[in-house]
Amino acid sequence: MATVDPLIMNLMVFVLAIFVGYHVVWNVTPALHTPLMSVTNAISSIILVGAMLAAGPADADWGVWVGAVAVVLAAVNVFGGFLVTQRMLDMFKKKDKKGGA
């Protein structure tokens, strides 16, 4: 295992993550499929990390501004995705209390 090509390491991570995702998502209750979609939406905006790297180099040229636009787009998703999921899940909570009462 002296030097493995990073591509191979990435491929390992990729395949294992797909398996984890597959098994975790099958356990999601169908009633929460819409929140699942909005939360995965928020998670896919992890692309914000890439956008930050694009906007982050010290030797600034126009590429930084392209990255900055990507930062804004991804940030809309991060906040929008998590907050709207929260809002939906809170609706399931409210009923829970009333149902018990």
């Binding site: 998502v25 999601v28 979609m37 692309i47 939906m88 009923k95």
Partner: protein, 465 residues
Amino acid sequence: MLSSNQVALTYLVASVFFILALKGLSSPLTSRRGNLFGMIGMALAVATTLTLTHNWLIICGGIVLGGLIGAVVARKVQMTAMPELVAFMHSLVGLAAVLIAISAVNNPFAFGIVKALGEAIPHGNRVELFIGTFVGAMTFSGSVIAFMKLSGRMSGAPIVFTGQHMVNLLLGLLMLGCGLWFFVSEGTNWTAYIAMTVVAFILGFMIIIPIGGADMPVVISMLNSYSGWAAAGIGFSLNNPMLIIAGSLVGSSGAILSYIMCKAMNRPFLSVILGGFGTESGSASAASGVQKTYRSGSADDAAFLMGNADSVIIVPGYGLAVARAQHAVKELAHKLREKGVTVRFAIHPVAGRMPGHMNVLLAEAEIPYEQVLEMDEINSDFPTTDVVLVLGANDVVNPAAKTPGSPIFGMPILEVDRSRTVMVVKRSMAAGYAGLDNDLFYMDKTMMVFGDAKKVVEDMVKAIG
């Protein structure tokens, strides 16, 4: 400044949080904690990445600006508009992926893709950039079309023309050709890269236009999956495991949802994607010419029957959401329960415009989720149920699904026809989206109540008093 090992370890922790976020959704009780885990994971990943970058002012400014927009949208959006919002957010992920790839092609040194400034991008990385770009571009343009169809800015009808699949195939080959050109060129060939990106945008657009509005639950799940793959693709380009892990989680989640939706409609995934369903209008059933008789009644009659029943199951469809009748329905269920009637809701997997949409709409109306049952949980209870009230649903209760030869044969349905009495609230006798007549409406035990779902339900509430 964190070392790259520390960064990688923090990314690992963030990935575990993301997995816990998805795991939390296995029950409404743990779901909110799950969402919190997701936020923590994201905050960790972003904070860690910040230590790797300069230009903090630009980055933080961008996050604040985007975050404000996102927060306002999340607060304002109507629950009936969730599918549009999700499609809109997919398009942002796709566009962000393309922009990052452009930035990486422009300055590969900043991403550690090349060892020295001005060096040509290695061929392996070019393939990764190519994949990240075209998946992102197709996610973007496809989601824009899905958004326009869902929000009614564009007709939901499938747009088909002869030779469509051939055109798409040629576009696909053209895109691959441009990618190959980009791959073999000396140095950075912007012409090839931009041509490839433009073709990918057009292809994403072409792939979604032939898909009809009623197949949207599949499309939106598929784009959900694409947005994950786009993030993973960029992760490969930037050699960033955080993006690969989170992207793959989302990608497989979307793929599973697409599969579930196709299964619930009994349609092969490929035929949904090739599109055009719903264009060959229901001429076959309309041409039969035999005038079948049905029984219709008023909201008062229906209310009387329900009020005297022991058990009632309500089957809501998207027509209920369109009429904004959720709150009236809640009132009806409440009134019936006060009279000692057992009331439950039965949800078909494709009720609504996206997976689980109807559950959210009922949750918004504060109907306790214990009373809302999935198809598999409730199907065996129909024979012992006195009254079933079908509100704005059609194909998902059509017994033709049990008849070999029917276009919807094999589709799992809510077996409403096996209950003692059925009441169907509908605007008219028009066929559902599959263009099929529904034998349920002509059964002796069925009573049709014509009118707007909200108006009818409100009248029922009044009649029960």
